[in-house]
């Protein structure tokens, strides 16, 4: 008796599409966070520190352990706004 394998095609399609979508989402999250998983449960403190990391390294997940800040760090805070007319 021939097995109705065509009936299993939709299941295969669903599995493949869920799998591809999930993999791409995971890859996108990793690429956006420089190879690490995304931060979760961040509070205002963590957001502030990630902002500071962006000022120090250029990316909000970048890390450096130099004790001295690069040139221009002390004046790059967002509190400095330029008054124009």
């Amino acid at each position: 008796m021939p097995v109705p394998w065509e009936a299993l095609i939709p299941f295969g399609l669903l599995t493949a599409m869920f799998g591809v979508a999930g993999t791409l989402l995971n890859a996108s999250a990793h690429v956006q966070n420089q190879g690490k998983g995304p931060r979760y449960n961040t509070d205002a403190w963590d957001e502030m520190m990630m902002d500071r990391d962006k000022r120090l390294t250029g990316h909000k997940r970048g890390q450096r352990s130099d004790p001295v800040a690069p040139e221009g760090f002390s004046t790059s805070s967002q509190w400095y706004t330029e008054k124009t007319r």
């Binding site: 500071r52 970048g62 890390q63 001295v68 800040a69 221009g72 967002q78």
Partner: protein, 155 residues
């Protein structure tokens, strides 16, 4: 009207229109980002306790920024000094611990193994140890528990 110019997209470097007067000594800011700073946090607390407490009490008197500049400079110098010492003496353990923190949402509980190695190295070379201030009397601190409840899923 006020405009904010993002320093990342600016074409010319920012020139501070109101720099501090020359009689204020210049101290370089601490350039460590969040993960190494969190890794070194308890050691900064142990090493710089007096300066930090001075600064906090000074701020409690008066929150004007100009009032606590001297204590602030001391805090910055002490923290930068400790980061320097950590890098000179225990660079590998330090880097391993803060890399582990970065991979785990900057939480301490999955990174106890690198933390034990770092604590051991820092205690031997710098004489600083990590104490958690709110630990209940008679109970082991959470970083010294042998079988913690919150741990990594995988070994």
């Amino acid at each position: 009207m006020s405009l904010f110019h993002d320093p990342a997209t600016a074409s010319t470097p920012y020139k501070d229109p109101t720099p501090l007067p020359d009689n204020v000594p210049k101290v370089a800011e601490v350039g460590t980002t969040s993960a190494p700073l969190k890794s070194a946090s308890f050691f900064i607390g142990a090493h710089c306790k007096e300066f930090n407490e001075d600064f906090m009490l000074c701020k409690q008197e008066n929150r004007d920024p100009a009032h606590c500049l001297k204590e602030g400079r001391r805090v910055t110098r002490c923290a930068a000094d400790l980061i320097n010492k950590l890098r000179e003496n225990c660079f590998k353990e330090f880097e391993e611990h803060w890399s582990c923190l970065e991979y785990n949402n900057q939480e301490f509980y999955p990174c106890r193994k690198p933390e034990k190695a770092l604590n051991k190295c820092v205690f031997e070379k710098l004489g600083l140890s990590k104490t958690i201030p709110g630990t209940p009397e008679g109970k082991t601190p959470v970083h010294e528990l042998e079988n913690p409840i919150f741990k990594r899923q995988q070994k």
